[in-house]
Point group: C2
Chain length 182, copies 2
Amino acid sequence: MALEHAILVSLAERSASGYDLARRFDASIGHFWKASHQQIYKVLARMEGDGWVSSETVAQAGRPDKKVYVVTSAGRTELAAWTARPTAEEHLRSEFSVKLRALPFGDAAAIVEDVRRQRRHHADRLAYYVESAAKFYPDPDSLTHDQLGGWLVLRGGLLTEETAIRWCDEILQRLLDAEADR
Amino acid sequence: MALEHAILVSLAERSASGYDLARRFDASIGHFWKASHQQIYKVLARMEGDGWVSSETVAQAGRPDKKVYVVTSAGRTELAAWTARPTAEEHLRSEFSVKLRALPFGDAAAIVEDVRRQRRHHADRLAYYVESAAKFYPDPDSLTHDQLGGWLVLRGGLLTEETAIRWCDEILQRLLDAEADR
DNA sequence: ATGCACATGTAAGCTGTTACATGATTTT
DNA sequence: AAAATCATGTAACAGCTTACATGTGCAT
């Protein structure tokens, strides 16, 4: 149950409507926590019931009204309390790893193609992170207090994608060697 | 919906009861796919209904009977077909990253402690992987066809944990620098 | 006597996904 | 005229977690 907290963090950074949040969860925050708009609306309603956020309907010119959510002081208290609680040990859930282990029972050529596809995904995300780093943190040696968290998360993304690519390359080398051997 | 396939892979490697599978999902396979015994029993029942596995009750001396599951030929067909389907792009879900981003709104000292805890988890898992590698793959340059998948998955685990530790160290350095600055 | 390993489940509830629903405005 | 963007939801279902339930045999 941490979507609540992801939303609290995002709203604490800047107030937004459910729709705005959904777009953020498609981009920046979405790189380490995905959420659909349906789920976001549902959780926002619950959070408002719990008094963590409050909403105000804002009329717009030539566009539908939107409900802008703001973190309440109870919400800020909860957010701070959550940061003080230890994070649960997070375990991977990697379908790709299961598939690798299925090598002796499956289609090796298809799996090689799959590894290439994964590598492409990781390379795309790495490129995105590199671009984001250049754009939002041009001088990483002098960050403001507010920027530090975002920068560290981005560093995690960069390191993770670089490693994933190295892993894919290692897999491809092994699989192609094994193929040549036959 | 890939628990089915994780179970098929595990049963294809060696037939087992639900209880046996639950223990495997606590250890080897569990490092990249977690599942509780309750869930495993439920999915096994469904898989038997679908004809992917069949079971036989085996009496044991001084122990309760157990239902040993075997992959059927339909199950093997499904497993092979699954390996030929592309793996969905898997996205991280990292509560830890959300917490890092919550730095400006939370308890920095508690977060530092949390990073140290995460680092310990990763170091523990890395040690486990290193040990497993030495034990099960003493000579990685000459692997059998059946061993290759398992070895590659283990390599992924190793690379991932090493990277996670490097990331934690980078975070700690930054956070302690920032603290010293104040 | 207490607890642990073995062994298999049911039930309730929460989270998350997919499909459906509506309607205005702007861009192609 | 059709498609995309803005904007907010409901409903059904699938997946997973947590709590409950039961019973044997062995070790401490």
